[in-house]
């Protein structure tokens, strides 16, 4: 069982907002914290980081058995070993890119940042001044800076806010790769569905300052890279039972043959049909077996090529044995592979 982050927070912000939240989060993979604007996502993340201690409140936070807060005792932010990527990247404008990366590394005794520089393509930027960087580059540096201090956990507060769709699509795989490579658990605040589908292993929902529960985790199939093709890679969906179904698809991702890739399935890009619909514009049409049809309480569940997929409640899955799943779009996420261990 992975370590856990437990928190119980009661805080006031401004005249009306109250955060009253308690939950236990597994420190494993990416946990998305999702909710409408003003629901307290950022307040929660900042409170966990100990950034507004002076604003008071009743706090109890335990991180992997280590007590961070037990009001009125608080561990200062700098001792919590959090890599924090802020909504506003807040790069140090008096330092070069390399200086920004070194800042945390120096203070936490990290000697080599080569892996991070490599994963985020920061090599050519190291000697550049911060103010000449593009929006996407700034985000990459901010992420690299947070990771370079060798954090025990990564906090990302809408790290793609303000980027246009093209820049987001470009930056998303970087986050996925960096998080999987650094093998650091992450809390990811966002209300953007695509980011959550692409990155999250589980989704905690917050509304009006209260935790409202865990949402169905994003649908994801695991796959493996077969070969590089122009504009991306060809991947095959893993199928333990070795069916001869055509489960090969092309995705725009930079990866090496043999690498493991998670294929996030946006709900609106998945169609279920009782008969084979023909390939049409789908990336892939995969056979599925109904494990659990739509019911009153539990989410419907399918088995796709030997992998189990839990569907969001809005899918109506009839009782029956066989279905076809057409996939129109995937959001890939590089996964840690054994070779990186």
């Amino acid at each position: 069982m992975p370590d856990q982050l437990h928190f119980r927070l009661k805080l006031r912000r401004g005249p009306t907002f109250r955060l009253d939240a308690e939950e236990t989060v597994p420190l494993d993979g990416v946990t998305a914290i999702s909710g409408p604007s003003g629901s307290g996502k950022t307040t929660l993340l900042r409170a966990l980081a100990g950034l507004d201690i002076r604003a008071g409140g009743d706090r109890l936070v335990t991180f992997a058995g280590q007590e961070w807060d037990r009001s009125p005792q608080h561990m200062p932010t700098e001792e919590r070993r959090i890599g924090f990527v802020f909504q506003d990247p807040s790069l140090f404008s008096h330092l070069t890119v390399g200086g920004n990366l070194n800042y945390g590394a120096k203070r936490r005794g990290v000697t080599s940042m080569d892996a991070i520089v490599e994963a985020l393509d920061l090599g050519p930027l190291l000697d550049r001044a911060v103010h000449g960087l593009s929006g996407g580059e700034v985000r990459r540096v901010a992420l690299g800076r947070a990771l370079s201090a060798n954090p025990a956990v990564l906090f990302l507060d809408e790290p793609m806010a303000g980027l246009d769709a093209a820049r987001k699509a470009e930056f998303l795989p970087y986050i996925a790769r960096a998080v999987s490579q650094a093998r650091v658990p992450a809390l990811y605040v966002s209300h953007a569905t695509d980011e959550i589908v692409a990155l999250a292993d589980r989704v905690l929902e917050i509304s009006g300052g209260h935790i409202t529960g865990w949402r169905t985790p994003p649908m994801r199939l695991s796959a493996r890279v077969l070969a590089e093709v122009s504009g991306g890679v060809e991947v095959r969906v893993d199928s333990p039972d070795g069916t001869d179904v055509d489960a090969v698809l092309q995705i725009p991702l930079r990866a090496m043959p043999g690498e493991a890739v998670g294929l996030g399935l946006p709900p609106e890009s998945v169609l279920l049909s009782p008969d084979h619909p023909g390939n049409g514009s789908a990336l892939a049409v995969l056979p599925a077996r109904v494990i659990r049809p739509s019911g009153a309480t539990e989410r419907p569940m399918l088995e796709v090529l030997g992998q189990t997929v839990t569907l969001p409640g809005r899918f109506r899955v009839p009782a029956g044995d066989r279905l076809w799943m057409s996939i129109l779009r995937v959001l890939p996420r590089p996964e840690p592979t054994d070779s990186e261990l």
Binding site: A49, L51, P76, T77, E78, R80, R81, I82, G83, F84, F86, D88, S90, L91, F92, S93, H94, L95, T96, G98, G99, Y103, G104, R107, R108, A129, R145, A146, A149, F155
Partner: protein, 223 residues
Amino acid sequence: MTAWAAISLSLQLAVVTTVILLALAVPLAWWLANTRTRLRPLIEAAVTMPLVLPPTVLGFYLLILMSPNSWFGGIWVRVTGDTLAFSFTGLVIASLIYSLPFAVQPLQTGFASVPKGALEAARTLGATSRDAFVSIAIPLARRGFLTAGVLTFAHTIGEFGVVLMVGGNIPGKTRVISIEIFSAVETLDYATAHLLSAGLLVFSFAILTTVFLINRSGGMRVA
């Protein structure tokens, strides 16, 4: 030649004042830039007062404060055995108060321009708040430091009224450049007056040009 004594005295006064005042103004400016207390307008007004008060008013009250009969001057005499009025130390204290806004305001502006996010990022990267202040706030507010230092120095060199009230006109002790010019004119020594006046004119122009150059360019970059 007394002109040289005056120049040397002015420079000494300006250096001592600038060093002490920066040390005092940094915490005050940092506090003003970050505090949310409702007293802030009152304190800002108090700090800015020397800018609008006639130097004679300031000098008058300082003179009274420094007199051995006042509580402050009395304590000073008991502790140091010296009177403050008409001494170099008295001049330094008067200059500290007179030049206070010239040090505090640029620093406060500089500190206010330091993004809160950068300081928080530094904390998450393992920096204590003191470390973050030194490694992030000071470099980011460097223009404020340069402007404060230059203006304090120049303003101290140029003061007249307060110095005359508090220090009088004692050669080598309290007779700074501006007072030397005044004495020279009174004694019809226009050559000295011309020399010193032109010197101050050029000096002031050079200083202000420097300040504006600093504020226009991005300042220096540290690797």
